[in-house]
């Protein structure tokens, strides 16, 4: 159980990255959704003991991680949003090196883990290549492998599936789900589908604030019957946007598909089944804040 209590963090240039963030994150996969620049990475790094918060506390399993970062690090797996590697070091060497740093001193265990993780991430046949020469997707897989070293109880993955092809993405998702039973796994992403597929719990973060927290299914349920849909031309779109609370619009075969949230159907709109994307966008655009807050 990870409990964040009133975490705030400002940078020296005046940007308030985190503003009084409180969350309690149970075991299992936890989705943290937010647009670019919402403060997701700041929050991840803070939880990953890489930076301190200005105020507030973070407790994991009784460890105050701001005070005892090293205690947490023993139980942490972290995949940063973007990362590089040392030049001229092969995948197996680097993973082995990181495994030792993680505390896997037993050689037999370590070799088993390293080989296993390389196989899991489909890198085994490339293990002798320098990671710095890997393609983007391979490198990302290596990142996943290293995050899983040492059987972490808290796994933080920041935008993990970017650059993975669909097959790899599936494979990774399966791995996460299989691990999620007894771990806290925080998945930070701006891809709604990832959360929808994986996470029993989620939160939406924007401009450093938690806008929404809850179970995706329950959240979607709250919006059922309030989402209306219409296919319009580009010219009509302007008018509708001015008149109605549009939560999303998407191009479909040259026309725009508009989603609007309202208690009754606006004229010419059809009812549409609510999905997580509607929850996310309606939260971001602030139009349903009163409704959903109550739900939470």
């Amino acid at each position: 159980m990870l409990i964040l209590n009133s975490i705030s963090k400002s940078y020296e240039n005046g940007v308030k990255a985190l503003d009084n963030v409180s969350l309690s994150i149970p075991k299992g996969l936890y989705g943290l959704l937010g647009p670019n620049g919402a403060g997701k990475s700041s929050l991840m790094r803070t939880i990953a003991t890489l930076q301190n918060a200005d105020s507030g506390s973070i407790v994991f399993d009784g460890i105050d991680i701001l005070k005892n970062p090293n205690e947490l690090r023993h139980r942490l797996g972290y995949l940063p949003q973007s990362f590089g590697v040392y030049p001229r070091v092969s995948a197996v060497e680097l993973l082995n090196h990181l495994a030792i740093l993680k505390g896997l001193v037993d050689k037999k265990e370590r070799l088993e883990v390293v080989a296993g993780l390389l196989a899991q991430t489909n890198l085994y046949q490339h293990r002798k290549k320098a990671v710095s020469d890997f393609s983007g997707g391979m490198r990302q897989r290596f990142g996943i492998a290293q995050a899983l070293l040492g059987d972490p109880d808290l796994l933080i993955v920041d935008e993990p599936t970017g650059g993975l092809d669909p097959e790899e993405r599936n494979r990774f998702h399966n791995l996460l789900v299989s691990l999620g039973k007894d771990k806290v796994i925080i998945l930070s992403t701006h891809i709604v589908d990832d959360v929808a597929e994986l996470c029993p719990n989620m939160a939406v973060l924007a401009q450093g604030k938690i806008l929404l927290e809850g179970n995706p299914i329950a959240l979607i349920e709250q919006l059922q019957g309030k989402i209306w849909r219409k296919v319009v031309s580009v010219a009509e779109l302007m008018e509708i946007e001015a008149a109605l609370p549009v939560i999303s619009k998407r191009l479909y075969a040259g026309n725009s598909v508009v989603h609007v949230m309202a208690n009754q159907a606006p004229e010419g709109f059809d009812n549409a089944p609510a999905n997580l994307e509607d929850v996310y966008f309606s939260t971001l655009h602030g139009c349903n804040a009163p409704i959903l807050k109550q739900v939470v």
Binding site: E12, R45, A48, T49, L50, Q51, N52, N70, R73, H74, R75, L76, Y78, L79, P80, S82, F83, G84, V85, Y86, P87, R88, H97, L98, A99, I100, L101, K102, G103, L104, V105, D106, E109, R110, E112, V113, A115, G116, L117, L118, A119, Q120, N122, Y124, Q125, K129, D133, G143, Q146, L148, L149, G150, D151, P152
Partner: protein, 1219 residues
């Protein structure tokens, strides 16, 4: 299109950089340093104007070295920016013309570099007008002095660096390659400097230097003070060749490899075509294998206390990262190459010959070569290692691992240490290989360890902790490197501010030397205390650095500083406390030793003391003082205790015409004024002085100078008995090399150091006119004028060492430890052993000058007997190499000097080796002190080696005549009579033994020393006749002048004049001779031409410029050959205002021709292996163009003007030509 893009790019670069903070930081640093520099006292500038042509250009060259940072930062940044910021893909897809784009970028950043550097001349110029500048150091302002060095030296160098670095950065897409190139360029610069020192390869050295700093030193090496103040640089000669060559090289590099015209595209640089793809079969197999591992258990969790394993893994990883890198190979490869060049070219002796490759010499050469390099390496690798995670962007992953900061930090520090250690190790292995290749088998590994690791490496390790600290303070690599460089620069500025004690110089300890006789002496102990002192600080600094460790994303220093206490915690604080306690403890001990038990005087205090002394006692300068006329001294030397005890019965005599009522007494080591000029550390001393009818009077507390007062004045010619006792004992250690040379083995103490000195000591006045004016003292009048007859009855020996003149009867009993031999002038009458003390009684059978010394050491003695004279050489047991040479020289000297000048006054001649860092030899009655490094360890095994050992022994032997038998009057030219005549005598022996060709090879060194010496003259160059103890005149010019005179008058005639001169003044006690008297004898019977020649050589300062423009030969019908030589000749004369002017030249100059048939044996540059010429005649040469025609029977191959160096020729390289 082309043009606008080009302009646009130039403009873009300019705007980009002027927005970067580093632009302002660097600009500020360059400008403020330039503004300050003219006000600093730079020893190399001596007396020249700080805004003169030379000083300004020299200061500009200092910035050129600095500018490397500038170019690396800006040019490489431009070249790599697209690559590093991943902008390449965006930019390269735009429709741009590659050449104008690239060239625009290059020129844009080059302009930034030039603009920043242009602040240097501006700053230097403004700096000379600042209110804090001492106006006496400035001449009149001339804008060209600033502009020309900027244009000729700085701009081309910046261009060269820019082209090379830009190309490398573009090609290799790596800043590392650029850094390494920078180091290699620096090595080239150092190598050039080294080659320039060895005369044979200097031409090569001039071209080799891309910086132009060494080139500049070479061009100006013979410039006189007037030229240094006024002569503008010209773009010609070597300067032009060097600049054009390097500009050409760099343009070729830029155009040829800079990819200016290549299509803009992303290239996968350096991804080598890896080994061919694995076979399909193998791949399939591996995939299958991989499936096996899928079932592996991956859920093992780590243990919490894996510290040790983590530490080992991390350290070996860091070390590997550094070592298995092309950069390291290139770097160590070029360092080794550099070391090799250093070893081979390092000229050790005075005449270009090398020393035996003893470990002490090798260690000194290599640690000297590495001093600067080590700082460069520390600067570079500290940044590289500390910022590795940040720059590869793996930081977030690694920092989130359960690893203690201490492990990260320590492993990085150890990697840094490993680099430095390997550097030392490579060097040692290389030097050992060199020793073995030279056939030297006595490899002293322990000495390598102590000298290279304990004395050399340890301080570097401490410095690297400072570099880490600088990086920890900084937001990025570059700022950290800059901070560290500023730290180093700041260290250099401490001395002039009065902080010259090593307690203020991080990781420094007092200078030390190793001697085969004395080993490390006290240095090991002293160094240990300083290392403890600095080690404590280093540890404290290391803990602080650890506390400021950057973990996770960049945090400002402020934030980290706030967390500092938390980070280091109690153990950290305790470590700091313990470390500082060690520092404090050893600091207190050092302070106690150097300030309390011994004196320490900083350079500025020393000047205060000397000025104070002069102001207080100047008025007594001409007071009469008693002289010692008989000394019977009991001297006990305690080598291991660094103690010497004196108790002497002395008869004092008033040789003057005035009665003496009171006089000043000063004792070396006791009186603050007297510390033998070594400086800065000396030990206190106790003494008593009693003379019948008087007592020690008032003491000047500040200067520890006494008055001795007689109740009844001592009348002229009256003698009184007295006693003197003193103990000089060095307790603990001193800051500098101890002034008292009582050491474990190889002690050497002169009477001036242990006996009292009477009267006002002119030698202790401030010498530099700049210092004098700042203390309100008028300029020194210099030595007494040659014509001032008032001083003709005052012997020079009486004033040179501040000891009253006149001769003494001398007898002494000297004791030392049982395993050593003690020596003093006189003949051994008795030697005995009491307990563990060995006693020797020496008695001189005739009066000697009041000038003697004591020696003690474990000696081997080589004894021989030559025509009634005992010859003894006392030497260290391993130093048998040159003993025979020394003995031969002594015998040849006795033969030649006795035959030509007169009999030897003693029954025995001894040469005694002593341990010293310095190369020096000194004569005493029947006893010559000869330091280990002056000739005992020289390698003269090759026939081409110039025999310095033979020469020096002959020179000191000659002083038994010139100096001991004849004592000149205390006026100008006195040292001419002593030193120049000794030079003449010894060079005459060289000519006898080795021939004229070898003599010329050695005179070439003297010519070089004279020309360099006069360019550094801080007071005034004088003609030989009037020289005022100026070494470059009486030794170097003197040798050339006397050998030329011997050539002109003939050896017989000159020697007979010298013999008559000696006969007239030998052992004179009332009228002492001057150079005027000497010249009377030399001029006897000379014709008009010879008289004019003598005037030119001895009475005037003439500098010649002889050039052989061309040499042609044509066969004649009768089978003979007609040789035509085109010669250009000029003479300039320095007048009494030190202004040089061209005057008419009319001289007989030797012309030599060598035949084709002997060409095989003849090397252009090596005079040492030259054959005698087939034709040698004097020809009349006049100012300007001369054509000389000579008919030869055989075809000549080579012609040379003045082959035996009878003229002071500014440039002897243009005196010869091949046909």
């Amino acid at each position: 299109m082309f043009n606008s893009l080009f302009k646009n790019q130039v403009l873009f670069e300019w705007q980009f950089f002027t927005r970067q903070p580093s632009f302002f930081i660097i600009t500020l640093i360059f400008f403020s340093l330039a503004l300050l520099l003219p006000s600093l006292t730079l020893p190399i500038l001596g007396n020249v104007n700080h805004n003169g042509a030379y000083a300004t250009a020299f200061m500009t060259t200092l910035f050129i070295v600095f500018s490397l940072i500038l170019v690396v930062n800006f040019i490489a940044n431009t070249a790599l920016r697209n690559h590093e910021t991943n902008m390449a893909e965006v930019i390269f897809c735009k429709p741009i013309h590659p050449c104008s784009y690239q060239l625009g970028r290059f020129l844009g950043s080059f302009i930034v570099v030039i603009v920043i550097f242009s602040l240097v001349p501006i700053g230097l110029a403004l700096g000379s007008f600042m209110p804090w500048v001492d106006p006496t150091t400035m001449g009149s302002f001339n804008a060209n002095f600033y502009l020309l060095p900027f244009l000729y030296l700085a701009v081309p160098t910046l261009f060269i660096f820019s082209c090379i670095f830009y190309t490398l950065a573009i090609r290799f897409k790596s800043i590392k390659v650029v850094y390494i190139a920078a180091v290699i360029l620096m090595l080239l610069n150092e190598m050039a400097g080294n080659l320039l020192l060895s005369t044979d390869a200097s031409y090569f050295g001039v071209l080799l230097d891309p910086f132009s700093t060494e080139l500049f030193m070479e061009i100006t090496k013979y410039w006189t003070v007037a030229e240094r103040n006024n002569q503008e640089l010209t773009f010609s000669g070597n300067l032009m060749y060097n600049r054009l060559l390097w500009m050409l090289i760099s343009i070729v590099i830029l155009v040829g490899f800079g990819q200016l015209n290549a299509t803009l595209a992303i290239r996968n640089d350096f991804v080598k075509a890896k080994k061919q793809k694995k076979s399909d079969k193998k791949q399939a197999k591996e995939l299958l294998q991989a499936d096996d591992f899928l079932a592996n258990k991956i859920r093992f969790s780590g243990v919490k206390n894996a510290y040790f394993k983590q530490f080992i893994t991390r350290t070996s990883f860091e070390v590997k990262q550094v070592l298995f890198d092309a950069g390291f190979y290139i770097l160590s490869g070029s360092i080794l190459l550099f070391m090799m060049v250093m070893m081979i070219t390092e000229p050790q002796g005075m005449f270009g010959n090398s020393l035996w490759p003893l470990t002490q010499i090798m260690v000194e050469t290599s640690s000297k070569a590495l001093t600067f390099l080590s700082l460069v390496i520390i600067t570079y690798y500290s940044a590289e290692i500390i910022w590795r995670e940040k720059s590869t962007n793996i930081g977030d992953i690694v920092d989130s691992l359960p690893v203690n900061n201490a492990i990260f930090w320590l492993s990085k520090l150890l990697a840094m240490f490993a680099v430095l250690f390997l550097l030392v190790l490579f060097t040692v292995v290389l030097t050992i290989c060199y020793q073995l290749s030279q056939g030297y088998q006595n490899i002293d590994l322990m000495q390598y360890f102590v000298s290279m690791v304990y004395f050399t490496l340890l301080p570097w390790l401490m410095m690297s902790v400072v570099a880490f600290f600088c990086q920890a303070l900084s937001p990025n690599k570059f700022t950290g490197m800059l901070l560290f460089v500023l730290f180093i620069v700041a260290e250099f500025t401490l001395d002039p501010l009065g902080f010259n004690h090593n307690l203020f110089h991080f990781s420094h300890s007092p200078s030390w030397f190793y001697s085969d006789m004395n080993l490390y002496g006290q240095a090991l102990e002293v160094h240990t205390w300083y290392m403890l002192y600095w080690g404590g600080f280093t540890i404290a600094l290391a803990v602080l650095t650890y506390g400021l460790w950057q973990r996770g994303p960049q945090q400002s220093l402020k934030v980290r500083a706030k967390l500092l206490g938390y980070q280091i915690g109690r153990p950290g604080l305790l470590t700091i406390a313990a470390a500082l306690f060690i520092s404090l403890g050893s600091g207190v001990n050092i302070y106690h030793n150097t300030y309390v038990q011994n004196h320490f005087v900083s350079q500025s205090e020393l000047k205060d003391i000397h000025a104070n002394y002069e102001k207080s006692y100047r008025q007594f300068a001409n007071d009469a003082v008693p002289a010692m006329s008989k000394i019977n001294a009991k001297v006990d030397i305690y080598p291991s205790e660094h103690k010497i005890e004196i108790s002497a019965d002395i008869v004092f005599t008033n040789h003057t015409a005035q009665p003496i009522k009171k006089f000043l007494v000063a004792i070396t080591g006791y009186s603050r004024i007297l510390n033998m000029g070594q400086g800065l550390g000396f030990s206190p001393v106790d003494f008593t002085l009693e003379i019948a009818g008087g007592k020690m009077g008032a003491v000047d507390g500040e200067l520890n100078t006494h008055w001795f007062e007689f109740e009844q004045a001592m009348l002229p010619n009256e003698s009184r008995k007295g006693t003197f006792t003193s103990i000089r004992d060095q307790d603990g250690f001193v800051e500098t090399v101890p002034s008292l040379q009582v050491i474990n083995n190889g002690s050497f103490v002169q009477n001036g150091e242990i006996f009292p000195r009477f009267g006002y000591l002119k030698s202790e006045q401030l010498l530099s006119n700049k210092d004098r004016s700042s203390y309100g003292l008028e300029k020194l009048g210099g030595t007494n004028k040659l014509e001032d007859t008032r001083y003709y009855n005052q012997p020079m020996s009486g004033t040179l060492y501040g000891i009253s003149g006149g001769s003494i009867e001398f007898e002494t009993t000297v004791s030392t430890s049982a395993n050593q031999t003690a020596i003093a002038p006189g003949y051994l009458t008795k030697a005995w052993l009491v307990g563990n003390r060995r006693y020797f009684h020496y008695k001189m059978d005739r009066p000697i000058q009041n000038y003697f010394a004591y020696f003690s050491g474990e000696y081997e003695i080589a004894r021989s007997h030559h025509k009634g004279i005992d010859i003894e050489v006392y030497y260290h047991k391993e130093h048998q190499m040159n003993i025979q040479r020394i003995e031969t020289s002594m015998k040849d000297s006795l033969d030649y000097y006795t035959e030509n000048f007169g009999p030897f006054q003693h029954k025995q001649a001894r040469i005694i080796e002593f341990a010293s860092k310095l190369s020096l030899a000194q004569d005493f009655p029947n006893t010559i002190a000869y330091s280990e490094r002056m000739g005992f360890i020289h390698d003269l095994s090759k026939p081409a080696d110039n025999d310095q050992v033979y020469l020096v022994a002959a020179h000191e032997m000659a002083h038994q005549w010139w100096g001991s038998q004849i004592d000149p009057a205390n006026v100008q030219g006195a040292t001419f009579i002593i030193e120049t005549l000794a030079q003449y005598s010894s060079f005459m022996l060289i000519q006898k033994k080795y021939g004229k060709e070898r003599l010329a090879a050695m005179l070439q060194f003297e010519l070089n020393r004279y020309l360099k010496g006069r360019s550094r003259e801080t007071v005034k160059e004088l003609p030989l006749m009037r020289e005022e103890n100026q070494a470059y005149i009486h030794y170097s010019k003197g040798a050339i002048a006397m050998m030329a005179l011997a050539d002109r008058l003939g050896e017989k005639r000159l020697n007979s004049a010298l013999q008559k001169f000696l006969l007239k003044y030998k052992f004179n006690q009332d009228k002492f001779p001057t150079t005027l008297d000497l010249m009377d004898f030399i001029k006897e019977g000379a014709n008009v031409e010879e008289l004019a020649f003598i005037t030119r050589v001895f009475y005037e300062i003439n500098i010649y410029d002889l050039r052989l423009l061309s040499a042609n030969t044509e066969p004649l019908a009768n089978g003979q050959y007609k040789v035509t030589l085109n010669i250009d000749a000029n003479r300039s004369q320095m007048d009494s205002n030190t202004v040089e002017q061209n005057v008419e030249l009319n001289e007989l100059v030797d012309i030599a021709l060598w035949l084709k048939s002997s060409k095989r044996n003849m090397h252009m540059s090596k005079r040492t292996s030259r054959q005698p010429p087939a034709y040698l005649q004097k020809h009349a040469i006049k100012t300007g163009h001369n054509v000389i025609e000579i008919i030869m029977n055989e075809e000549p191959a080579k012609a040379m003007l003045d082959p035996y160096i009878h003229f002071v020729d500014r440039n002897i390289n243009n005196n010869s030509a091949n046909f």
